[in-house]
């Protein structure tokens, strides 16, 4: 009888019963621990090497002229002002498209949607997040560029599609942290759902939602693949109209430099990489810190 039960029941201790002596087991465990620590160290070392390379080489190119002048037709010197302005316009416009749609979608998912439709839209967002950015570039090319011409607007639409699932996701996370008691209190007072959303829920989650959006901006600012397809032909000099033509931008500038063998171009590209990386690392670190703070505030 007892034999039967021990044999048929799942035995949770099975993988834990040590085979071999204690010293060997501890040695294996120690090795595994140092391997895990080593892996973490490796990742940080690689991060350090990349950041150091960009700073060391980029700093040589950096100057006031570099940020405010046009690139020369050939040779060294000059700056990347058109690319900085173009990136700002494209990313800004993309954010203006993605933020409202993303936040409204998140509101729909947390406040209104039930059951199947909610799940379908959640799945759509996750799938959209998994579409390779080059495919999004090809899509926007087919939608807006083919038969017309390249434009900064098309680039902004592409970035907006990339940002949309990120914004929606982070907004959703923050909205879910808003205490249910707030909603119930508003309901008990007879407030209509839309008023309680606008007057109670959204204001208390707004800080977290905005920092989540900033995080998505940091992700989109470095996207190159779609811009290469829809905003890689542009006139010289600083331009801000996203509809008339493609706009110069930092990612495509770096990409083009890496495809040519021009040392002057390399130097400027390192400088451009430093500008882009500094923007992205500072905004994403800052947003992360703020996000952690607003989460703590909501969950307290």
């Amino acid at each position: 009888m007892t034999d039967m039960t021990t044999e048929t029941l799942f035995d949770p201790t099975a993988p834990l019963t040590a085979s071999g002596n204690l010293r060997r087991r501890q040695l294996v465990s120690g090795l595994a621990e140092s391997a895990a620590t080593g892996a973490a160290l490796l990742a940080i070392t690689v991060l350090g090497i990349v950041i150091y390379a960009v700073i060391a080489r980029g700093a040589a190119a950096l100057s006031w002229d570099f940020l405010t002048k046009n690139p020369p037709a050939f040779g060294s010197g000059g700056g990347i002002a058109p690319a900085i302005v173009g990136t700002a316009v494209i990313v800004g416009l993309g954010t203006l498209i993605a933020a409202p749609v993303g936040i409204l979608t998140a509101l729909y998912l947390t406040e209104f949607a039930r059951g199947r439709i909610g799940n379908l839209i959640r799945l759509t967002m996750d799938v959209l997040n998994g579409v390779p950015s080059i495919v999004i570039g090809v899509f926007v090319f087919g939608l807006l560029v083919r038969g017309h011409h390249q434009s900064g607007f098309a680039a902004a639409v592409a970035l907006a599609i990339i940002m949309l699932p990120l914004v929606a996701r982070s907004a959703q996370e923050v909205l879910l942290l808003v205490p249910g008691s707030l909603r119930e209190a508003a309901d008990a007072l007879g407030v209509a759902r839309w008023r309680s959303v606008l007057g109670v829920i959204l204001p208390s989650a707004m800080g977290g939602i905005l920092t989540g959006t900033v995080l998505a901006v940091a992700r989109a600012a470095g996207e190159t693949a779609p811009l290469l397809l829809v905003s890689s032909i542009y006139p010289n000099g600083v331009h801000t109209n996203p509809f008339s033509s493609g706009l110069a931008n930092i990612p495509v500038y770096i990409f083009n430099a890496s495809e040519q063998a021009d040392p002057g171009g390399f130097t400027r590209a390192w400088g451009a990489a430093l500008v882009l990386m500094a923007f992205i690392l500072i905004t994403s670190l800052g947003a992360r810190a703020l996000l952690a703070r607003s989460r703590r505030k909501l969950t307290r």
Partner: protein, 299 residues
């Protein structure tokens, strides 16, 4: 009113994904009609002669991504274990964001660093050493003159996949109830035995989903690969030779496509990429359906 706006926004998201599929397949239509599924196995790509086949790029995509996953999965999971179970609390707060910063570095900068700094170094030191020791394997063949290779692309992709696997698996391991781990420790298990006996089995499907998402990232990466892989048209046995991937080929040739057929063929490549992307993503959702694996990605 607000409800209507919210529904509209949500529907817009659904419409976007449908429209993406429509546009990409619509653009690929001429090429699909002309060469059908034979396109996938055909290994010649000569835009000047109007001959197009995706075989070389399909193989390059699979090889470089497989290499990236083979390296990134153990490293990423180890980092996840370190961050969730081993690291002292103060250190965890520093190392965790640093690993996530690795994911924040734009691919174009990683590729630029890859071709100017990493590739020459690999070409001079790592590749000759590997060839010397493991040269009997055809994949570690003689070292060519430049560092632009599938090998370099695989390493760059590894750097991109590691933080994805690491941050998702860290979140997964943190959800393992500490009673289970304490129980194992109380029974005399070492830390590693606890990991192998309790932590990994209870999160295995989530970890597999994390690897699947990482693989999807590697398969779809265009820019960094285009910068370091050397845009080769031939299939080589050795990893140290040039090659190309689907995404990289689209990125490199789309801006200067020669003809309607060329465009259609590039659209076809993008369509393959879209299908691969959807399949890996849905597979990851399905494998990891017990966990919320997408959470860490959006952060």
């Amino acid at each position: 009113m607000l409800y209507g706006l919210c529904v509209l926004a949500a529907l817009l998201a659904v419409a976007t994904i449908v429209e993406i599929a429509y546009q990409v397949f619509h653009g690929a239509r001429p090429a699909i009609d002309k060469s059908g599924l034979g396109f996938l196995g055909h290994t010649t790509w000569k835009p000047n002669d109007g001959i197009f086949g995706a075989g070389t790029f399909l193989l390059g995509t699979v090889v470089s991504s497989a290499m990236a996953l083979a390296l990134a999965a153990p490293i990423g999971i180890s980092i996840g274990l370190y961050l969730s179970l081993l690291a002292p609390k103060g250190l965890r707060g520093i190392v965790s964001p640093l690993v996530e910063l690795l994911a924040a570095i734009p691919s174009v900068i990683l590729g630029f660093w890859g071709i100017l700094i990493l590739a020459p170094w690999l070409n001079k030191h790592a590749e000759p050493a590997l060839h010397k020791v493991l040269g009997f394997l055809p994949i570690f063949g003689p070292v060519p003159t430049t560092g632009a290779s599938i090998f370099t692309a695989g390493l760059i992709l590894t750097i991109m996949v590691v933080p994805i696997v690491a941050s998702i698996s860290r979140d997964l391991f943190l959800t393992v109830p500490s009673e289970l781990q304490d129980g194992a420790l109380a029974l005399g298990a070492t830390r590693w035995e606890t990991v192998r006996g309790v932590v990994l089995p209870s999160t295995a499907s989530g970890v597999a989903a994390a690897c699947c998402l990482g693989l999807g990232r590697a398969l779809g990466e265009a820019i960094a690969v285009a910068q370091v892989i050397g845009a080769g048209n031939q299939i080589h046995k050795s990893l140290f030779e040039t090659g190309d991937t689907l995404a990289s080929r689209v990125a490199l040739q789309f801006p200067g496509a020669l003809s309607k057929e060329h465009f259609a063929a590039l659209f076809y490549l993008a369509a393959i990429l879209l299908v691969i992307g959807l399949v890996t993503n849905l597979l990851a959702q399905w494998i990891g359906r017990r966990f919320d694996v997408q959470r860490a990605v959006a952060r």
